[in-house]
């Protein structure tokens, strides 16, 4: 078994922001540690810091917009910024990502257009960004299903002889699904260049991770023949380093890896959830002390990379991004009713054409007032 795979997670930054050297991982942080000539380590660190600050602000805005009725639902990821932004900064532009629904921070760091972050949560579409423009699949609601897609994509990469790698994100609950276990079987058998990135945020809605796994989740992968590591998911440098290591393994033909990022979901599961029914308030307080942003900021301040000016710039950027998200949400036009029938198939399909035609007639009829059909709708929230 690899070190860090069962016991306490690998940590490069302690909760008070002190950087500890690490035999295995320092190699992957040479650029951010200022050990690569020509690399602007301060700029790199600041961009990671800014992304974390902005991501948290987007999350807060998403929650607020939901509360104000502008979004139907929102899945907060507050607390998981290090896992998301750290891993995202390791992934190359040609690599492909298969996320769950909570990777809004990853999508932001990947360069998603801001309206695309909220489009599906507003109910305007089932997805936002163009997957091939971003090299990132649409968010996945069916728990764990995307991990199989990731492995299939990685098998394609392998057969093409390409250098691309694939990363798939999922939660601790997902590891119970058949799909996730089957994806590990395929990945190991074909030595697919894929990284399984599990954000163990301790909860699958109301169920603590203990319902899903009797031993640390990272220990499961070796049984499939996949090397795994358990990292502190609130330590952005550990997440960055572990993802870089796994991607290097994938790209050098050494097959899949599994990363368990041990973190915490500080908010509710979604805006429809009430964590007070199942979660002890003290637990939240304990985890607040391990806050990923505060920790990284303390480290950056200690090495003189972050000062008040940098903080102010990050906050300003966060505000303007949040403002843009809000504007985009509020002004997002509703989709046209007839668009219901679009994209069901790649081309026209006679039965559907007929239904569409009848639908158009019906809508015109309702407006014009035909027969009893013009009766007022008694229900529904049109």
């Amino acid at each position: 078994m690899t070190a860090g795979h069962g016991g306490s997670p690998i940590q490069l930054l302690s909760p008070d922001g002190v950087r500890h050297p690490h035999e295995r991982y320092d190699r992957f942080l040479a650029d951010v540690d200022g050990r690569v000539e020509g690399a602007d380590s301060a700029a790199l660190l600041v961009s990671i810091y800014e992304d974390m600050v902005v991501a948290r602000r987007i999350d807060a805005e998403g929650t607020a917009l939901q509360r104000q009725g502008q979004l139907g639902l929102w899945p907060p990821f507050v607390g998981q910024e290090a896992a998301q932004i750290g891993s995202a900064h390791a992934i190359g532009p040609d690599d492909f990502i298969f996320p769950s629904y909570r990777e809004i921070g990853v999508a932001y760091a990947r360069g998603a257009e801001l309206p695309d972050l909220v489009r599906q949560w507003r109910g305007n579409a089932h997805s936002g960004w163009d997957p091939f423009a971003m090299n990132m699949g649409p968010s996945q609601v069916v728990i764990g299903a995307q991990t199989l897609h990731a492995v299939g994509y990685a098998m394609g990469v392998l057969f093409d002889g390409a250098e691309t790698a694939v990363v798939t994100y999922f939660g601790d609950g997902a590891t119970s699904q058949g799909d996730v276990n089957e994806s590990m079987v395929f990945a190991a058998s074909f030595q697919a260049p894929v990284v399984f990135f599990c954000q163990n945020n301790q909860w699958a809605i109301s169920e603590p991770v203990g319902v899903q796994a009797h031993v640390p989740i990272a220990r499961r992968a070796p049984g499939f023949g996949i090397s795994s590591v358990r990292v502190d998911g609130n330590d952005v440098l550990a997440c960055l380093a572990a993802t870089r290591e796994a991607l290097e393994r994938a790209r050098s033909g050494n097959g899949p890896s599994f990363i368990e990022a041990v973190t915490y979901r500080m908010g509710p599961h979604t805006t429809a959830d009430d964590p007070t029914r199942y979660r002890d308030a003290n637990e939240l307080e304990d985890w607040k002390e391990k806050d990923p942003i505060a920790r990284f900021e303390a480290y950056l301040a200690s090495i003189g990379v972050v000062d008040d000016a940098v903080r102010a710039r990050a906050a300003e950027k966060a505000d303007s991004v949040a403002e843009a998200v809000r504007e985009a949400t509020i002004h997002m036009p509703d989709p046209e009713p007839e668009s219901l029938f679009e994209h069901v198939y790649a081309g026209p399909q006679p039965v559907l054409e007929r239904q569409r035609d009848h639908f158009e007639r019906y809508r015109r009829g309702i407006e014009g007032g035909i027969g009893a059909g013009a009766a007022t709708t008694a229900e529904g929230g049109r």
Binding site: G72, V211, Q212, I366, T376
Partner: protein, 340 residues
């Protein structure tokens, strides 16, 4: 009698069943402390313990397969699928295992399993949270499939389903969870008016058109009957209740009287329940029909995002338009074809 919501009636019915039979166990995701995402199992773990109200791992195939094993062992598992769209990971266990065990074992193995599925749309949810997958299960022999529409039926039919020695897929209309109604708690297994869960119910009598619906649309159909009567059309609305087996006797008797049939459901049209009912009733009542049966259904599209779902769902207006078509009155398709 007491007034309660459909959700509360289910909770009370589950409680009754658990008290009646110590082998009744509930299994599912988040059904313990949280009481399920719709709170249908609220308080039951507290009262019956964690071995009778089991928070399972997040694995639908696992839940269904282990429930089968518990049934082998003499338990009566009641499985909660969190949302309609998440039953598919368990689909193989349901259609290949649950449905076939009795037949396969020459009747030696009973699978008294109840599979509760909140179904249907209209609550503004994201993808996979608003589906109507009933036809997949109705198509599978060996399963009984029911859909409740009101608190009294919810209270009684959940108890009947749990007491049934066949596996029952039990659909709950999530958009009606908060609808209130009178529930007579002395009426449990025998059903209100002695109505078994596999019988349809005539909601309101009429002479011009038979209108069949179930689950979330039963209420809409009743509203449509009321609205149509203002227009001088007498609608006989029927709540199907049991989707498999279908109580064709009740529909047939009605259509022999009215000569016209409209079927409404949220599920897509093609190969949906409406097709089965239209075909069967045509076979049974061809010479009594004044018009081809009319279907008012969701379109043949994936369940749409919430900004469009109310165009997809049959509402009062669309059902009334279907009634007009069956009556040969002016309707949205007038002039292009006679019915559909």
């Amino acid at each position: 009698m007491s007034e309660m919501t459909l959700a509360k009636a289910l909770n009370a019915g589950l409680r009754q069943s658990m008290e009646r039979d110590s082998k009744v166990v509930l299994m599912g995701e988040d059904i313990g402390k949280l009481g399920g995402v719709f709170r249908i199992t609220d308080g039951l773990q507290k009262d019956f313990g964690a071995h009778r109200v089991i928070d399972t791992p997040l694995a639908e195939s696992g839940i269904m397969g282990t429930a089968i094993g518990m049934a082998y062992r003499g338990y009566r598992p009641v499985v909660e699928i969190q949302f309609d769209g998440f039953v598919y990971p368990a689909f193989d266990q349901i259609v290949s295992q649950v449905a076939k065990l009795h037949f396969r074992s020459l009747g030696r193995i009973k699978v008294p399993l109840t599979i509760r599925i909140p179904f249907g749309g209209g609550i503004g949810s994201p993808e996979h949270h608003s589906e109507s997958p009933e036809a997949y299960f109705v198509h599978t022999a060996g399963l009984r499939v029911v859909a409740v529409s009101n608190p009294q039926d919810a209270y009684s039919m959940i108890q009947q389903a749990i007491a049934c020695d066949d596996p029952v897929v039990f659909f709950e209309p999530k958009r009606r969870y908060h609808d209130r109604g009178e529930v007579d708690e002395t009426v449990g297994l025998e059903g209100p008016g002695g109505l078994a869960m596999d019988a349809a119910r005539v909601l309101t009598e009429g002479t011009d058109v038979t209108l069949v619906g179930y689950g979330p649309l039963a209420k809409t159909c009743l509203d449509a009957a009321t609205a149509a009567s203002d227009e001088g059309i007498s609608v006989e609305a029927i709540d199907l209740r049991s989707l498999s087996p279908i109580d064709f006797g009740t529909i047939e008797a009605s259509v022999r009287k009215t000569g016209r049939l409209v079927i409404a459901h949220e599920a897509s049209q093609t190969a949906g329940l409406g097709a089965e009912i239209a075909a069967s009733i045509t076979e049974r009542c061809f010479y009594f029909l004044e018009h081809a049966p009319v279907r008012v259904t969701g379109f043949d599209v994936p369940y749409p995002h919430s900004k469009l779902e109310f165009y997809h769902l049959p509402d009062l207006d669309r059902i009334l338009d279907g009634v007009d078509r069956a009556m040969g009155r002016p309707n949205s398709l007038s002039g292009i074809e006679d019915g559909e």
